[in-house]
Assembly symmetry: C2
Homo-oligomer: 264 residues x 2
DNA sequence: CACCTGTGTTTACGACGTAAATCGGCGGGC
DNA sequence: GCCCGCCGATTTACGTCGTAAACACAGGTG
């Protein structure tokens, strides 16, 4: 039922194979009892996905798990660290993604492509969580938000260096790549948020923006159909391809500083 | 005193002409009395810049203004709208920036350059506020976070169309440009946040990340000097230049779909 | 049986956002 | 001169939040 529509966005949750439970959680058969850290974090993610970040309070999350708020503190030091755990858990989904590889066994471009789409899939699956990924301070200056874990940074750098990038070029690529990912995905999920939010305030205030005199912005009005088109998937692909092309140039330049300089 | 260092980042607050009071505020001579919306928003920005977003509460902001919390409610409907106002005020600084023009009178590349640096200056001047710019939902899907106001979107689109972009290309450019800006600047300010935060927890927990066994990440360790180098300004410039180059190609293609096709 | 230990609950406190009532001073009608 | 209404700020109060601390209550171990 609801088999993947070939025209659909390949990274969107609907476009793939069902909801894919965020975390395995619980041994399996146990119906309700037995809280543990994974269950808490999983429930938090689910809760945020469903109700938004602001709605998450310790008390409500407890209730959602059929437990008092204070019970959560046995598995999580506090709310802030709970959110850190949420970010970590969400990013950890990358490890379980069979389409994302830790090594560039099919070339660095394949590696970057798969990684980018893997992160995008996560962003689209958890649009309410993703801004948290971008906003929470990373542990170190060089662990940039979208990648988040040292393991991925290591994997990234190894892939690039092994593929013929100089160390400087690999680091530059890391920066270009992560800022590309962050910018695109953050914009995409925030856009998605807006599309939904009209339902948020179901009545009353008629959205204020609706009736600002658009007369002063004729171009915006004229191009609104184009502007509100959602071509995120194509845009993403194109920008990614462009970035890869740019990186390939960097790589070649570095390998052959003058011309036809053989391998070092 | 402290004249601009030529090697400094031209967009950094220190690299320019002093702190430049966020808002003019108050008629001038009045010492303390006379709250008004501008003063409230200005104080909020200053407060966030100094103490971080989380530290901002109505009570504390009131105290900062020498007033009780409830007094603020005469000028602002509530905390959320206060934050909206903060975002709006910060973006409004663009209008007062003499280096940023609303029209592409010196060509679209000049226009985009100036706009980009203007936004970057704002981001660097208010690193604690900027994530708010990125995170708060825009009024409409096509008002993307970094630009924020319809007036800028209009200006942007007009500049591009007037410079020979097709409408489709102008919209595509708008998207590419805004995601570029958002990604780069968000990453840059979040990075800046990390560099400072060690002071945040002055004692106790020795930062956890410091002592994670880096042995498993030899490449990260080896490249750490490169990774922790702060070349934001150069990176920004390069990525911006690349984007402009890419847009120029799009523009030419659109003008001459086949070859040498004269102006429409 | 007493006793620890690990898990969830109860109670309690201070801080938050904010609704509602209140107050103080000041300018305009009488 | 006096009063009065209004405007801007304060006081009070309520419900909710995060979370510290004390407690309750199992099940296993002697």
């Amino acid at each position: 039922m609801t088999e993947p529509d070939p025209t659909a966005d390949p990274d969107s949750p609907e476009g793939r194979g069902a909801v894919a439970g965020v975390l395995p959680a619980a041994p399996a058969g146990s119906g309700r009892a037995g809280l543990d850290r994974r269950r808490v974090l999983g429930a938090a993610i689910e809760f945020i996905d469903r109700n938004g970040l602001d709605a998450l309070t310790m008390r409500r999350l407890g209730a959602h798990l059929g437990v008092e708020a204070m019970a959560l503190y046995r598995y999580v030091p506090g709310r802030e660290q709970l959110l850190d755990g949420v970010v970590e858990s969400v990013i950890d989904e990358l490890y379980g993604d069979p389409d994302v590889h830790m090594a560039a066994s099919h070339g660095w471009q394949d590696y970057l492509q798969r990684l980018a789409h893997g992160v995008r899939r996560i962003a689209l699956a958890h649009p309410e969580v993703f801004p948290l990924v971008a906003t929470r301070p990373p542990a170190a200056p060089w662990v940039r938000p979208p990648l988040r874990s040292l393991r991925w940074v290591e994997s990234f750098l190894v892939a690039m260096v092994d593929s013929g990038f100089t160390e400087e070029a690999a680091v530059a690529a890391y920066r270009a790549y992560s800022s590309f990912l962050l910018g695109h995905l953050l914009l995409e999920v925030s856009q998605k948020g807006v599309k939904i939010s009209p339902e948020d305030h179901p009545d009353g205030v008629p959205d204020a923006a609706e009736d600002t005199d658009l007369g002063e912005y004729p171009t915006v009005v004229r191009l609104e159909p184009l502007l509100s088109l959602d071509e995120s998937a194509a845009e993403f692909e194109e920008a990614l391809e462009n970035l890869l092309g740019r990186l390939e140039l960097v790589r070649q330049e570095a390998r052959a500083p003058r011309r036809g300089d053989a391998r070092g």
